[in-house]
Symmetry: C2
Subunit: 423 residues, 2 copies
């Protein structure tokens, strides 16, 4: 009989349970140790052998039998030290930990390489969507220079609901929390941290240069108003939280997460609720879009198990397994600060209903070399004339200056929103 | 210096030229021999060394230096014999030949396996979209049981243009031929052969059982009328040529290519012009959609080069390279004939404008246990009352009998169209 490959799991929550169940289908794989937070917790997993469960995760990474460790607990500590210990002990790693990779990816991948071990992490970015392995293997002949992605299901759910129901952010958030789509403290999702972790690592492997998480610009969805949703719709757009990464001709990277007006003719505009999607542009391939479930027990398990199977298929056959899947990058990407970028903008302004206001807006833009694509004044409500502006591409710096100017104008009551527009 | 991997190309047309150009970016790869049909043809390829060009493709497959042969000529012969000869001579194969794989895949993959060589073919199905490698590797933990795909750019271009312009099939075909999107003899595309070749191989690897091309039901787009496009649109659908494969609970396969009404909330409804897309449903992953350019010099080169790089990364490191990418299937799939399937249908009927006609249609359907989802009679033109029926799911056999009954009714002038509807 073929000798079974021995797996250790750290974490038996939603993802861990899914991985446990799916691995039962593979005769050549055996889970020999599982670390949990609370051994006494009742688990509804058929056939689970309680004797392999420990509440000391170091028993997994120190177990001499274990060949592959799947880290499925998330967060930076103790995951960081557990993975390093496992590597030191000669184990290959599969992880779904986006935060850890974003913050300590460089150190981890270098340490793995020094020890001739691999760290695979398909599940960490876009859940069940095949993304990391395709980028590292079948797309390896490409220079990828642009990524636009919806990488956070919670915020996409909230934005979709706001769009469909015409409801406010706070109403929909409460509903999403009730349904378990948003956490009690939603900051990690709604302020864009989760998407920023993911785009940090995705841009690093796509561009072949290390992106530092602290250099990724980040802006959440908490200020999006139902009025913005409605105005965007009327002008042919949907508002989405977009994780974006671009590499310019000089090799400088512009990586960010913020809401965007996405034209309805783009695939990303039609990615709704908790679905994720990634549009990659590369040479020679052109533009491809990969979409599917970005989270959940089974989609995430699909990716974790896929990574495990890739390692299993190579173990014992060669000393240097999966060379294309390694993620060492000696070069740190030079970054472009958001203030130096050029964008197209949507601005929503509330003004006194007086003659000359539209003219003032046009003049302020013109003085900063900003051309307008459209300017629409709608009905007056509560003494506020609702003015919507879409600019052509202009400098972020200039746009911010115009907004400052407008805010100081006596007839402009408020600049409600400034949202960038995908071109 | 690292020793270069030696490549032989068969074919230097659109795809071959793209592959040649992209491979120039890789220092560890050298093209040492290229077979062309006509040596005298003027080629616009920078730096091309004429001395490595031959018009005898056997010089490529018999060249002892060559380690990987990329077959990029298409068609069954001489490609079939060339690939077998190359394998016999110890070479790994990369091919973009969908027809050859659909018709002779079983023999080729078995022959390669017997000789411990791999045949990779990412470019053969859906051009630049990462599809085969993801299905074989990162999705390997899944049981895929459903595929819905747009795999032919020419027909998708024609259908999109018919939809946008309200034009007839023949008008748009002529325009597509002028633009080079359709061939002078368009049969291979418009009658669904091309898509059928592709779904044959894709379903084989997704289901893990060999599908025989001759068992794939096939119906083209030549009978689609602008009126069908308009009616579909009004009811919330787009008409697309869908390559479909499903595996039922008993393991029987239903594989086919025919036009379908696709609901507008599905991603495939928004895949326009020459873009391709594949929606896969599997357990545990759920539903994922991969979309992008299905053909063209550079997208196709992306996939061919990706395959070459995968082989290169493993050569010399292990005797048994890329175990997950091998495509041997001992089992032939049991197939479900189209006549035994159940579907939802769109029917367009032209009838005399007499009372009782709608009743007769309803009765004929009822007698065959077919429930109607909707029935709409529109304005009378040229003495024809235009009646559009959408059924619930029913047996194909029953639907065909109803149509026979209706055709024999004195007040029914014609059944213009029967198109299946995606559910």
């Amino acid at each position: 009989m073929e000798k079974k490959i021995k797996i250790g799991l750290i974490g038996l929550g939603t993802v861990g349970s899914g991985v446990y169940k799916v691995l039962q289908n593979f005769d050549n794989i055996e889970i020999v140790k599982i670390a949990v937070h609370n051994k006494k917790k009742k688990r509804n997993i058929e056939g689970l052998d309680e004797s392999i469960i420990t509440d000391n995760a170091y028993e997994v990474v120190n177990d001499p039998e274990v060949q592959i460790v799947a880290e499925l607990i998330g967060g930076t500590e103790p995951a960081f030290d557990l993975i390093k210990t496992a590597i030191k002990n000669g184990k290959h790693i599969v992880t779904a930990n986006k935060e850890l990779l974003a913050k300590h990816g460089e150190e981890l991948f270098n340490y793995a390489q020094d020890n001739n071990k691999v760290i695979l992490y398909e599940a960490a970015i876009a859940g069940g969507i095949p993304l990391i392995m395709p980028v590292k293997t079948i797309l390896a002949g490409n220079k990828i220079n642009k990524i636009k992605a919806i990488l956070n299901g919670t915020t996409n759910y909230i934005l979709t609901k706001m769009d469909v129901q015409g409801a406010s952010y706070n109403e929909v958030l409460a509903e999403a929390q009730d349904l378990g789509y948003a956490e009690t403290n939603p900051t990690g999702d709604v302020e864009g941290f989760d998407a920023a972790y993911k785009i940090t690592t995705l841009a690093t492997i796509a561009f072949g240069k290390r992106i530092k998480f602290e250099n990724v610009y980040r802006e959440g969805i908490t200020k999006i108003r139902p009025e913005d949703m409605k105005a965007a719709n009327e002008m042919g757009y949907k508002i989405k939280l977009i994780a974006s990464a671009e590499l310019d001709n000089e090799g400088k990277a512009d990586v960010r997460v913020h809401p965007m007006l996405v034209p309805k003719y783009k695939t990303l505009a039609h990615i709704d609720y908790v679905t994720n999607a990634v549009t990659l542009s590369g040479n020679p391939v052109g533009e491809i879009t990969l979409s599917g479930p970005g989270a959940g027990e089974f989609p995430t398990a699909s990716s974790v198990v896929g990574d495990i199977l890739a390692i299993v298929s190579e173990l014992g056959k060669t000393d240097y397994i999966l060379p294309m899947m390694r993620c060492n990058h000696n070069e740190n990407a030079q970054m472009i600060d958001i203030s130096q970028t050029q964008n197209k903008y949507y601005i929503s302004i509330c003004a006194n209903n007086k003659t000359g206001v539209i003219g003032k807006i046009g003049t302020a833009c013109g003085e900063h070399n900003i051309s307008l694509a459209s300017i629409v004044q709608k009905e007056v409500k509560d003494n506020c004339a609702d003015i919507t502006v879409i600019t052509e591409i202009c400098k972020e710096k200039d746009m911010l200056e115009v907004i400052e100017t407008l805010k100081n104008d006596e007839n402009i009551l408020n600049v409600n929103s400034m949202i960038r527009v995908q071109v």
